[in-house]
Symmetry: C2
Subunit: 348 residues, 2 copies
């Protein structure tokens, strides 16, 4: 186990970023088309090709999940991903035409200190996202980095640098569940001024430092803090969860809803009016189709609970592994903030 | 009155196409940001930035509606539109950053005889849609052509060339309602083998030839015919309706649902499993904000009924005004099919 979403058989992940613009793209591509759905609980989402993920829509399978920075400008990324998928002959074909499906959500990282050149010459200079989507798809592999990479490159939280996180676990039935999150939250992943993560109860090993829960929660610890007080600036945490259990599209929708509870446990606040929080859920069905490793049909409640835990852990790891952007007044990263007390996680 | 959606004050429309690829883009841009929503009743939609149009989402207003060919590859078009809007300083601003909202739906025109060069060299050659979106936005005006233009350039129906259509009318209360449709239907806009449109009951003047209703409907007239028998090929009719009445976002959602009934009356079948039929609804609120020309608050039922009629008429006009694509085996256009019997419509 890599403790990454790629522990789910059939999933590969690629990252690409533009350091000058301080933004990037993460893509999950699949060895075979996968069943998928989505649950958007943030109030200000930006997305591409997601209506087809609703259970009443016809298309049953997709070929890539794209997470990116750039807010609405970032929605070109799925175009670059689709080009790579088309070149590889992935996805459905109609009369000899290859038509892969790349679904996408974006986060708002336009005010993080990076130089967004296209905003000053918008018709002449294209946003970098189509190219970043292409490059991320070309880089897809089972091993990938966490922290200030891909869609997490430009992400921040209320008090610390955000980033890309991932985690995985095995259910009692033997199914593998994994999560991937690009953390750019309006709220905080940590409690008060300390190094304790809200996701601490779900931590496995020392994957985000092993700080555990604070001995005592004070009133200031519980004060609600968020970017852009008092009304809340545009933020967003975008994520996906995956399992090798064989689920229907409607079950994937339910999985996406339950996985959002992992965001609720790891970030405070979350799902706010100017958040675009979106969670995709994917079934690769690589475990035995009807019965899992333990000879039982998939228990969706158990898979959903595991997905929520994985997503909470992925959020904490994204913050824990991040490095600050090299700009004046950039938010500190977890390591800089808490110095020597940080113990690096090791692969499980 | 131009009998176009641009009769609704505050709406301009631009078209761009790629003749070799036989595809194009239509964009409606607004003098000021507009309240909007969407209703997607087709089973295989492709869309961009539409989740934010749901009534429970925060963003209240948008800056452009983009209709395009290209299926999922066409979803880059909103990027080019956004660049033009950004250059013009349109849309919301956050900390000095301009962030216009361009929502989009696509139709499937990949198998119409045009040369889709990007499908053979997908990573090296980009799809043309970002550029077409930019060009369509730059061309936006109150006058625009119908037929084989813009998003309707590559469209077809089961039996005739499809195209871009538009229509407008005034409600009893004095509000203006307009519709715009890119017709690429899985079904037919005409009845049986004759020149009679299903939308005939709603025709104003001779806007689509004045053929009226057949003297008699035969059993073959009522046979269900559609592209790609027996299962139905991927098709789609995408559209928008607009009014100068001041409506809330939830009322725009209701308007989009009612407007879909115009598609139901003008096309048979419609809203099928492999259709991506999507209708956007927009309120420019240019009539008096609280009360309309007759001194009454907007009657949503009347506006919705007018929008359905306008959309049915726009569909028929899109087919009536189309010219066939210059490819071997291309579907005939209405004029070629019915020859001298066709009487051209004149502006009202």
């Amino acid at each position: 186990m890599r403790n990454l979403i790629t522990d789910v058989s059939g999933v590969r992940v690629g990252n690409a970023h533009d350091a000058r613009a301080a933004t990037g793209v993460t893509v999950a591509v699949f060895d075979q088309s996968v069943t998928a759905s989505v649950a958007t609980l943030g109030g200000a989402p930006g997305s591409r090709a997601v209506t087809l993920l609703e259970p009443e829509m016809t298309r049953a399978v997709i070929d890539a999940v794209v997470l990116s920075g750039g807010s609405l400008y970032g929605l070109d990324a799925a175009g670059g991903v689709s080009a790579v998928l088309c070149a590889e002959g992935r996805g459905a074909t109609f009369g000899g035409i290859t038509l892969p499906v790349a679904v996408q959500a974006i986060l708002f990282d336009l005010m993080n200190g990076g130089e967004k050149a296209w905003l000053t010459q918008p018709v002449k200079r294209r946003p970098p996202y189509w190219d970043l989507g292409r490059d991320a798809a070309l880089a897809a592999a089972v091993d990938f980095a966490l922290g200030t990479v891909g869609a997490g490159y430009g992400g921040t939280t209320a008090n610390l640098k955000g980033g890309l996180g991932s985690a995985s676990q095995r259910t009692k039935q033997g199914f593998i569940v994994g999560a991937l999150a690009a953390v750019n939250a309006v709220g905080s992943a940590t409690i008060g001024e300390g190094p304790h993560f809200w996701a601490a109860p779900y931590e496995q090993g020392r994957e985000f430092g092993g700080y555990g829960w604070p001995a005592k929660l004070t009133e200031p610890d519980l004060a609600i803090r968020f970017k852009g007080q008092p009304v809340g600036a545009t933020a967003t945490t975008i994520a996906m969860v995956a399992t090798d259990a064989s689920l229907t599209k409607s079950e994937c929708k339910r999985l996406a809803v339950m996985a959002n509870d992992g965001l609720a446990r790891a970030l405070r606040p979350i799902h706010a009016p100017n958040d675009g929080d979106t969670v995709f859920a994917v079934s690769t069905a690589r475990a035995d189709a009807a019965l899992g490793p333990a000879g039982e049909p998939p228990a969706l409640t158990e898979i959903g609970a595991a997905a929520a835990d994985c997503l909470a852990r992925a959020v904490a790891r994204g913050v824990y592994e991040a490095t600050a952007l090299p700009f004046e007044n950039a938010l500190p990263d977890f390591r800089r903030r808490f110095g020597k007390t940080v113990r690096r996680s090791t692969p499980q």
